[in-house]
Amino acid sequence: MQQPEGAASAATSPTMQSWSARSNAGIVHMVRHSVILFPLIGLIAVSLLMVFATDNFLSFTNIMNVLRQVSINAIIAIGMTFVILTGGIDLSVGSVLALASTVAAGLMVGGMPPAFALLLCLAIGLGFGVGNGMLVAYARMPAIIVTLATMGIARGLGLIYSGGYPISGMPFWVSWFGNGRIFDVPVPVIIMVVAYLVAWVVLERTPFGRYVYALGGNEHATRLSGVRVNRAKVIIFAISGLTTAVAAVVLTGRLMSGQPNAGVGFELDAIAAVVLGGTSIAGGRGSVVGTLIGAVLLGILNNGLNLMGIDPYVQTVIKGFIILLAIYIGRERR
């Protein structure tokens, strides 16, 4: 590695000093230019609305309820964020969730030690993710088509495996993943928080995370600059498969059964959370923090509309309009 001759002298020039000084520019600037600004405002606004419209919105029990309800969608939405950040999409998550959960339940009922069965559940999710990624990266097929196909394949496999019936009768302690508590905090919430922390660190602090954003920003330039783009794509879809499988573990524990028909439409909920969280559907901009906010926002809406006693049919219409409004406010602001 050659060193610049002028580096030492240049480092003392006035411009250099002002550069280093500005690098720690205020947190105000950070928030103002951050993609999570609007989602955050939305979350606060909706929460305030709920505080006034309902009696016990801010109670610990209710908040934990909301968080537990959103946990499965929020966990799936982590992987979805990675995929959407690169400009892709993963439609297979709902079906893979059902397949992984059903197979795990079946194996446990068949006598396999739950630890192994749950590891296998994770492996199924990972396997589908890797497969999706390979088809997108190396076979150069559009993500929307690949995952539409694997969505059908996973759903079908789950139905074949179970004969179409829910599988129940697994060891009781598996329920801990869905219904357990640690210091009054539901286990799914803890899993969710830990998963988000890991995802945030990966995206913000590792080279791979930088590649995710770079890929979404300009795939061609990223490839030409020497980043192994195809490998990154496979890992990104693998993450989506893995977070889906983690959600499957929670779901299995929650329902104490494997439901081959579970997870229908979950891909849309996850996409909604990602997009509400400020991540650009075209890729390159966004964050998992935003996605968590988006998922919680959706959960609060559900919860609040329930508490207000609004007809469930009407609720879906309201949610649709709120998503449209949010995307409208958040579109291409620069």
Partner: protein, 502 residues
Amino acid sequence: MSQLLSVKGVEKAFVGVKVLSGVDLEVGAGEIHALLGENGAGKSTLMKILCGVYSMDAGTIRIDGEEKHFSDYEAAVEAGIGIVFQEFSLIPHLTAVENIFLGREIYNGLGLLKRAEMRRHAMATLDRLKIDINLDVPIRHLSVAQQQFIEIAKALSLNARILILDEPTATLTPTEAEQLFAVMRELKRQGVGIIFISHHLDEIFEICDRITVLRDGNYVGTVDVAATDIDSLVEMMVGRRIAANFPPKPAINAARPVVLDVEEIQLERGGPVNAFSLREGEILGFAGLVGSGRTETALGVIGATRPHRCRLKVDGVARNFTNPADALECGIGLLPESRKEEGLITSFSVRDNVSINNLWKYTSHIFIDRAEEQRATIDVMGRVRMKAQGPQTQVATLSGGNQQKVVVARWLNHSVKILFFDEPTRGIDVGAKAEIYQIMRDMTKRGYSIVMISSELPEIVGMCDRVCVFREGKITQTLVGEAITPAEVMRYATAGEINAAA
């Protein structure tokens, strides 16, 4: 030969920068008139004025002696001007008939298409060209030449009497070019005036009657083909400019080791086979016309595309790159031609752009050391004298020159030794150009070896220690030292075969 088109004293400036000044052009009925000039000489601007896309600041356009003012493209078409651009405006999934009548379909009282009638009209036009084209298949199944004929037919069906062909042969095989010339001669016989833009002097001598030469937006002159030769044309095109603003070239040391030896590269099966080598510390130019295979060769070498055959050695060791990341591991990088599309990640800050391909340098265990990354970025920003608020500045807000410096900085920060610069100064101002030249020269002093692809002759002449001149995918000549002159480079780039025969 009656005067059909007469253009006088055209002036045009873009945001204060003069791009055309005092340009004349006259085309007679039944004349094929070549418009010649280097890249950036103003040919395209003049053509866009002629077809109403740009307005002119001063000057007159007369057709049949009558002064015309084109407010838009439709007005020019109305006046009898037809243009076939380099990039066709045809829809690949539609048939020839559908393309010719796109937007002005003939239909009956029920709003249904009169297909037979449109077909008859299309046939009649194509008959005029004396060519035979399958009218019933989507045009994507036709050859490039045939698609071009459809473009010409489309212009003729709009009653064009002046036809502008913008580098029509650039994408054609020699046989196809002959077919095009036959069509052009037929139109000439029918009294159509044709403006033919081409860089290939041999073609111009084959088909044209007169030649108008532009240089740096100025009118140089109009000559009869019969009364001129290649040497005087090249002289008219390049003038007697001397290269300014270039750092001095060091003495050539032929004893420096060869760092990159491309023994053989063939991009496509049956295509031309090239070989070149790069010595340590030199700037090797890839000169030639746009589309002559320079960029494609560079992309093939670094594995961004998959060449049909490629044998190369880096520091004497045979390598095989399937991916730019492989080339990077051997210390080879490329700064692409279009910064925004291929170079920068525009949503990223300066720092993130600079460090994208060398993050491992600041990565301990699995985490990026951001303080170290920041420090290193500030360091390279100083080395390229980048004018930016700081490492956190979004690159989208920078000027073209500073954006190019971001891309340069990315590689400066890396352990690469060999760099391909593809059009490194395109679209940046004079001051920044000089800085980029200085940076490149400094890099070679520190042991970098550079391949510079450029369409700007002064840059090739002013910067390069050796020059490979490309013509139609083939390296026709490698010039060294004093032999690198604008005229020599232009000669091999435009008229390789004629020269070889002479």
